[in-house]
């Protein structure tokens, strides 16, 4: 096939990018080389629109062992233990083929983690769908949930937390972000940097097929009406093979034969070999005839661009081939020496004894395009004034029930029940709490993780929204008694070529940077997903933040269910009555304008750290952060979980009841304490200048408000639990 500008454009490259390729090579590329360039230079692999801005993220800290740039980030959790974790998107494939798209997303992120030598110990996910009324939503939700479960359950890794939302902006572009945590000994972490000359390059895992060719390019483009035709670009997952690959890799890693290891994810053999060579400043020579293939007559182009799953590339020490092969034979996996490291600093490919590609690694990586895209700043919207007549007919209990049954607040039990949450025998907090918690096997320690996003806030004011998501992650970890350590981010946005979408990206990243810097909650890994867009319509900006924290003694973990009648309930943090962009404003008043709640980083940090002090002093019986739906929604969820009620008295604030109960001001928590501890608790709160309200006392089974209105907890529980089950069974 003759390569020209049009062929390059068909591969998703821009005309000037093609010109640059020809200049760098000092000739036109052949078709295999063009395929390699298109795979390496697309948005998904090159981060060409985002690189400039991602540099702003704080990535260092005392506990950070490895920041962005490796397969996943690594943090120190003491005693020579480390946690490897990352979140990644699989949005485009999941819309085209929800089961396989979601399944391979989960498979891919687990591979990133065990590539570094860590055994995966927990999975999380953040999934976002279009309006429940949209004709595709139900099937997409079902397919994605089956896919996530199908892969994670088979791997034997518990799914411990997640987030699901519905918004019409995802009608044509759903989001599927998968996160994995792995456990590794600090001195047994594996990296992707190749080193040494003439070292064997080994291919292990599944055979290479024709599936997923151009997957990364597909994920770097907007959708149009012909999207269904892209089904063949979605990979097909085989969790059984991945389980074998996991065990085989960990067995090989127990020895000392691996120099570098890299999984074949997006852009398959191309990106994995180039990444290893680039990091080691070496060349790699591969004989493509040696690559195990699933189908006959695969061309070099197809072999290099296949995104078949469950494959790894390893650079071994010389002479260790036999020993390594034995392990992979035992697990019935392919093992092939396909090439070697060289000093050419080039990627050189051979097929049928002919050279089919010869490219300096540098031209593919360092010379890849980087764009400073135009972007537009979002002004802070003007505040709305709530009119008395709009709310005077509203009854708090009725509104509460509506909110508890809102698709974005309601119980997601229908989803979690399809995930194995308890395999590995260390899950001590399952989905449905503020964060999932797993014990570090055989120790007193536990690791907490949560995943959060607030697309509505980010859409209204990206800078504030970006900050808010990081704070929410911080709060969720603290609510279970964990000390927040670091985050991973999955940045889901529309087209970077659109100034508004690009502006949302730039300002969300700015917000994330500010908050993570201030809270000492650095970003150690992540991924960017642009072009979540159908024709001209982009999604609401949806950065998802995965936070990880440590609980030193798992017996001190906190849960959100109310524990004991007569205990006192307090609200930590000041309620200003911010209603704009709240669930109440958007769904009850149908008011979609106005700014999101302000984020005060000092208060966030101070309130959170003070709560940790209370927890360290064993003064907290239950805790829950206040988010969507405000104080009353948070309290109702604690009632439902604990099967207990509460007598609430609104404190004598200037704001009205509606504002007090439904406002979404930040930096707040609900806590339950024993009456006899009130003095100790209030002393600590006062001493740290933390505002708090006395909200009420726990009772057996009813929620009372100001002694006037009441509702049974069973009634609230039904409102909370029925929506999703009913929706899915229709």
């Amino acid at each position: 096939m003759i390569v020209n500008e049009q062929v390059a454009v068909d591969h998703g490259l821009k005309k000037d990018e093609y010109t640059k390729i020809c200049e760098l090579l000092k000739r036109a590329p052949n078709i295999t080389e063009l395929g390699i360039f298109s795979a390496m230079w697309n948005e998904h692999c090159s981060y060409k629109s985002s690189r400039l801005h991602l540099k702003k993220l704080p990535t260092k800290g005392k506990k950070v062992i490895q920041g962005p740039g490796e397969n996943a980030g690594v943090i120190d959790i003491e005693d020579n233990d480390a946690i490897v974790f990352k979140i990644e998107s699989h949005n485009h494939p999941s819309f085209i083929e929800p089961y396989q798209g979601a399944a391979t997303g989960v498979g891919g992120i687990m591979r990133d983690v065990f590539t570094m030598g860590a055994r995966p110990i927990a999975n999380l996910n953040s999934i976002h769908f279009g309006s429940p009324q949209h004709k595709k939503t139900k099937n997409l939700l079902r397919g994605v949930v089956h896919g996530i479960g199908g892969y994670g359950n088979c791997m034997g890794v518990p799914t411990i937390a997640g987030q699901t939302s519905f918004d019409s902006s995802y009608n044509g572009n759903i989001l599927v972000n998968a996160m994995t945590l792995g456990l590794v000994k600090k001195d047994k972490i594996f990296y992707s940097k190749a080193a040494g000359l003439n070292k064997p390059v080994i291919y292990v895992g599944s055979k290479t097929g024709r599936d997923g060719i151009h997957g990364a390019s597909m994920a770097s483009a907007s959708f149009d009406e012909k999207i269904e035709e892209k089904k063949p670009t979605v990979q097909v997952g085989d969790p059984f093979t991945e389980k074998l690959l996991l065990e085989a890799c960990l067995e090989l890693m127990a020895g000392d034969s691996i120099i570098a290891i890299q999984d074949m994810g997006a852009a398959g053999l191309t990106s994995s070999s180039i990444e290893m060579a680039s990091k080691g400043n070496l060349g790699i020579e591969i004989n493509l005839n040696k690559v195990p293939c699933r189908e006959a007559k695969m061309t070099p182009y197809e072999i290099m661009l296949s995104e078949s799953q469950e494959r790894m590339l390893i650079v071994l020490e010389n002479g260790k081939e036999e020993q390594a092969k034995k392990i992979f034979d035992k697990w019935n996996l392919d093992f092939a020496v396909i090439g070697k490291t060289t000093n050419s600093k080039k990627i050189q490919l051979y097929f049928d004894e002919k050279k089919v590609a010869d490219i300096l690694v540098k031209t593919l990586v360092e010379n890849s395009p980087m764009y400073d895209r135009k972007w537009k700043k979002t002004k802070l919207p003007k505040k709305n004034k709530i009119k008395k007549e709009d709310i005077k007919h509203l009854k708090i209990i009725d509104v509460l029930k509506k909110i508890l049954g809102n698709p974005n607040v309601c119980s997601k039990e229908w989803i979690w029940q399809q995930y194995d949450q308890t395999v590995m025998g260390d899950t001590i907090q399952k989905p449905g709490g503020d964060a999932g918690v797993v014990r570090v096997h055989g120790t007193e320690k536990a690791v907490a993780a949560s995943v959060d996003s607030s697309a509505v806030y980010c859409w209204s004011h990206p800078l504030t929204g970006g900050k808010q998501v990081v704070c929410e992650s911080f709060r969720n970890l603290i609510s279970v008694g964990a000390r927040p350590i670091a985050i991973t981010n999955c940045l889901n946005f529309g087209s970077p070529e659109n100034e508004e979408n690009m502006g949302e990206f730039v300002e969300c990243v700015q917000g994330i940077s500010e908050a993570s810097e201030y809270l000492k909650f650095p970003v150690v890994s992540g991924n960017v997903s642009f072009y979540n867009q159908t024709k001209d319509q982009g999604i609401k900006p949806t950065p998802a933040i995965g936070g990880v924290g440590l609980i030193k003694d798992y017996k001190n973990m906190i849960t959100m269910d109310f524990k004991e009648v007569d205990n006192l309930v307090l609200v930590i943090g000041k309620t200003e009555g911010h209603i704009d962009q709240s669930l109440f404003a958007r769904n009850i008043l149908d008011e979609k304008n106005g700014p999101p709640p302000e984020v005060n980083l000092f208060n966030e940090k101070n309130n959170g750290e003070t709560l940790l002090k209370l927890i360290d002093n064993n003064l907290i019986k239950s805790a829950h952060d206040v988010s969507l739906g405000g104080i009353i929604t948070a309290v109702a969820k604690m009632c439902i979980k604990g099967k207990m009620g509460i007598n609430i008295k609104k404190p004598k604030y200037l704001i009205n009841e509606i504002e007090y109960f439904f406002a979404e001001d930040q930096g707040r928590y609900i806590i339950e304490i024993n009456k006899k501890d009130f003095k100790k608790v209030s002393d600590i709160l006062h001493k740290n200048a933390v505002h708090f309200d006395e909200l009420g006392t726990i009772n057996e089974n009813e929620l009372y408000i100001n002694d006037k209105t009441k509702v049974t907890i069973d009634d609230l529980s039904t409102s909370n639990k029925s929506w999703l089950t009913n929706y899915m069974s229709k």
Binding site: C154, G156, K243, L244, Y419, Q421, T422, V423, G425
Partner: protein, 227 residues
């Protein structure tokens, strides 16, 4: 007491079972599926997971593993063999226990706590148990027990039903059946009651920080019965 846990390709509850057995006093050995001989054991456990990816039919390929010849001989000579979840599916495929396990009635994987009622205590698994009802944990996609009417009659006549899904008071009704199993069956024995297959995972409920502690009761009782 000596126990052996078999690891098949795709087993993923083998470690959890090893941890549980050791916690309650068993000297446990992990045994690879391709081995020919079982170590000397008082109890053999086929653990949960997705042996061979559940491809073809859950448990079918594992049931033909090399080690299974020894396991079947061991069972036929009266040895105690327990299959949990995928292990139950494997037992069904070997024919050591009657019936089949179909996909869950609502075609979805289910992971949650359930209650089960002990149906028969005249066996070495449940003998001397104080409780009638246990809170156990299930996590499976194919736990919908099914058999022919003739088989069912035989199972009932021989008192081969081990546990049934029920509510916390031991009431066995359709609404407490999580997967559509015939007669709410959660676990069954072979005729001689030395082989037990059940869907629930007692190894996931062995300390109070986990989903519950009734698994501890099960293992404590089991090792005492075997002594």
């Amino acid at each position: 007491m000596k126990s052996s846990v078999i690891t098949f390709p795709g087993s993923n509850c083998d470690r959890d079972m090893d941890v549980a057995l050791k916690k309650f006093g068993f000297k446990n050995k992990m045994v690879w599926h391709a081995d020919a001989e079982l170590p000397k054991s008082d109890l053999v456990v086929l653990p949960g997971g997705f042996s061979y990816g559940d491809y073809l039919r859950c448990g079918s390929m594992a049931s033909k593993s090399k080690i299974m010849h020894s396991v079947i001989n061991f069972a036929n000579s009266g040895g105690m063999v327990m299959g949990i979840c995928n292990g139950f599916q494997i037992l069904v495929e070997t024919g050591l226990v009657p019936g089949v396990l179909l996909r869950n009635k609502y075609l979805e994987f289910i992971c949650k706590n359930v209650f089960v009622k002990i149906n028969d205590k005249k066996n070495r698994y449940f003998k001397n148990f104080d409780n009638e009802v246990l809170e156990f944990h299930i996590a499976h996609n194919e736990g919908n027990y099914f058999c022919t009417n003739n088989q069912l009659k035989e199972i009932e006549d021989n008192n081969q039903i081990a546990i049934n899904y029920c509510d916390e008071n031991g009431k066995i009704e359709d609404q407490f059946n999580p997967n559509g199993s015939i007669k709410n069956i959660a676990g069954i024995f072979n005729k001689e009651k030395n082989v037990l297959g059940m869907m629930p995972h007692p190894e996931r409920m062995i300390d109070k920080s986990l989903s519950g502690e009734d698994g501890s009761l099960f293992f404590k009782n089991l090792i005492n019965n075997l002594k």
